[in-house]
């Protein structure tokens, strides 16, 4: 009877998940000594900024363009959204430089690196669609300039920067889902494989 239960897909998935990511690896109490460095702070700064982006984005979506253009509180939340994006990209680029300088794809961490790179690209698209969704002269200027570049690649048939509805839906639905999901996968992979050690400590590491 127990073997039948063990063979169920729910049991197999649970065992597989717990084997690959036991709870003490998912939420560890300690980190290796080399993690006590400022260079490891920029990843979590990026995630904190992403949290503020999502929160302010939800408020902007609830109240709409007229509110964020005309009210003092709307200006403030709109500015919070912009400046958290600035911090997000600032921290993410320093995080990228830090991980590149450590060759953070070592020790079976190539997918962690790739999910980070794809998250970066999705974030650039999210940032761009945000700029063209402001519903002001700035967004009109950016969209009319960008359309020529995108049309020259043939991409304009699928990605029309003058189509506000398409840009807004991409910005507030699809790209945030992609950015948050990819960030989640990225963090889970960091937990599974552990933080990449410095080069001098890597010789003792067993590649997973």
């Amino acid at each position: 009877m127990s073997t039948d239960i063990e063979r169920q897909w729910t049991s197999r998935i649970r065992h597989s998940v717990v084997d690959k990511l036991p709870p003490d690896k998912l939420l560890p109490d300690t980190q290796p000594a080399y993690v006590a460095s400022w260079i490891y702070v920029f990843g979590v700064t990026t995630m904190a900024a992403l949290g503020v982006i999502i929160l302010t984005g939800i408020i902007l979506a609830l109240d709409g363009p007229q509110w964020w253009h005309s009210s003092t509180l709307g200006h403030f939340v709109n500015s919070m959204h912009l400046w958290s994006v600035e911090i997000f990209f600032f921290a993410m680029v320093v995080h990228l430089w830090g991980k590149f300088s450590m060759a953070a794809w070592r020790g079976g961490r190539s997918l962690t690196w790739v999910t980070g790179a794809v998250t970066f690209m999705a974030s650039i698209l999210a940032g761009f669609t945000g700029y063209v969704s402001q519903t002001n002269f700035d967004s009109q200027w950016i969209a009319t300039q960008a359309k020529d570049g995108i049309n020259s690649t043939g991409g304009g048939a699928f990605f029309n920067v003058l189509n506000l509805g398409q840009m807004l839906m991409l910005h507030i639905v699809l790209l945030p889902i992609a950015a948050v999901a990819l960030t989640g996968i990225h963090v889970v992979m960091v937990r599974m494989k552990g933080v990449v050690p410095p080069f001098e400590d890597a010789t003792t590491e067993v590649s997973a």
Partner: protein
């Protein structure tokens, strides 16, 4: 434009942008400052001492 008291920009940004021209490279002063700050943050993160590093008994 309506301005909330005390919430206005510390630096007056209500003017045309300033640009740096260096051969074929053209960059706005604002973007250049951000780039310099990113490089400075990266170098500081590599070399600045992390508080409490020597006393981390829990670290493996």
């Amino acid at each position: 434009m309506a301005q909330g008291w005390g919430l206005g920009a510390l630096i007056n940004l209500d003017h045309y942008g300033h640009y740096i021209h260096w051969g074929v490279i053209q960059v706005s002063v604002g973007n250049f400052i951000v780039m310099v700050l990113m490089v400075a943050s990266f170098l500081a993160a590599l070399f600045a001492p992390f508080p409490g590093r020597r006393n981390r008994k829990g670290a493996k």
